[in-house]
Amino acid sequence: MPDSHSRTLPLAAAVFAGGTAGTSLRAGIGLVVPSLHAVPVATIAINVVGAFALGLLLATLGRRGSDTGGRRTIRLLLGTGVLGGFTTFSALAVDTAVLAGRGQSLEAVLYCAGTVLAGLAAAAAGSRIGGAR
């Protein structure tokens, strides 16, 4: 598929630009919002808001037409790039493991399960709102 290869660079550039923006937003929020009892509340908010926004974005784009051309570029820039870079799974996993390792088992379970379940609810709500006419 030489055609798809020749198009990879601009698509990857859109993801890179979006990922840079999303990561700087996450890092900036992390600098301003401190942890609460060693629970990274900033990461909770970032991940839940990001899940809602991605659900909203993908459903909105899906309602407008096929994943081609400008819609695909917007999906890669804002979805895969900005929101993918904004949200993070590795910090959730490591912070949960650190909490559990310190003996804060209740905080670890509540933090991880709470983020995962809130993220699912947020993504479902975003999809529903974005998919509604």
Partner: protein, 125 residues
């Protein structure tokens, strides 16, 4: 965080997101779209690696700036919570209940275990 480190964190996040995009696309081309294996493998590998990096930084073996750029930046941008959530919702909407439980509940537990393994590796190394 100094301004140069913040800029490097942001750029590393862009690089991580780009690697995620290319890796996910390559895996998707081989396995199809029934189960989001790409995101799963990315989030699992990223959690293991961040465990190692965070563990080494906690022991001051790794400078804090490297922890920030490689961890908060690259691995933060490489792994993604939003796509994982949306993919579980899509599995639920498609009535793939078992795969939704696997993706939405089992995978997060596995990432935490891998992060703990990473922290353990850093404690030995």
């Amino acid at each position: 965080m100094t301004v140069p480190v913040f800029v490097l964190v942001a750029l590393a996040g862009g690089a991580g997101a780009t690697v995620r995009f290319l890796l996910d696309r390559a895996i998707r081309a081989r396995t199809g779209a029934a189960f989001p294996l790409g995101t799963v493998l990315i989030n699992c590998s990223g959690s293991l690696l961040l465990g190692v990096i965070a563990g080494l930084a906690a022991r001051a073996v790794l400078p804090e700036a490297v922890h920030l750029v490689a961890g908060t930046g690259f691995l933060g941008g490489y792994t993604t919570f939003s796509a994982a959530s949306v993919e579980t919702v899509a599995l639920l909407a498609g009535r793939r209940g078992a795969l939704a439980v696997l993706n939405g509940l089992v995978v997060p537990v596995v990432t935490v275990l891998l992060a703990a393994v990473g922290l353990g590796i850093a404690a030995i190394g």
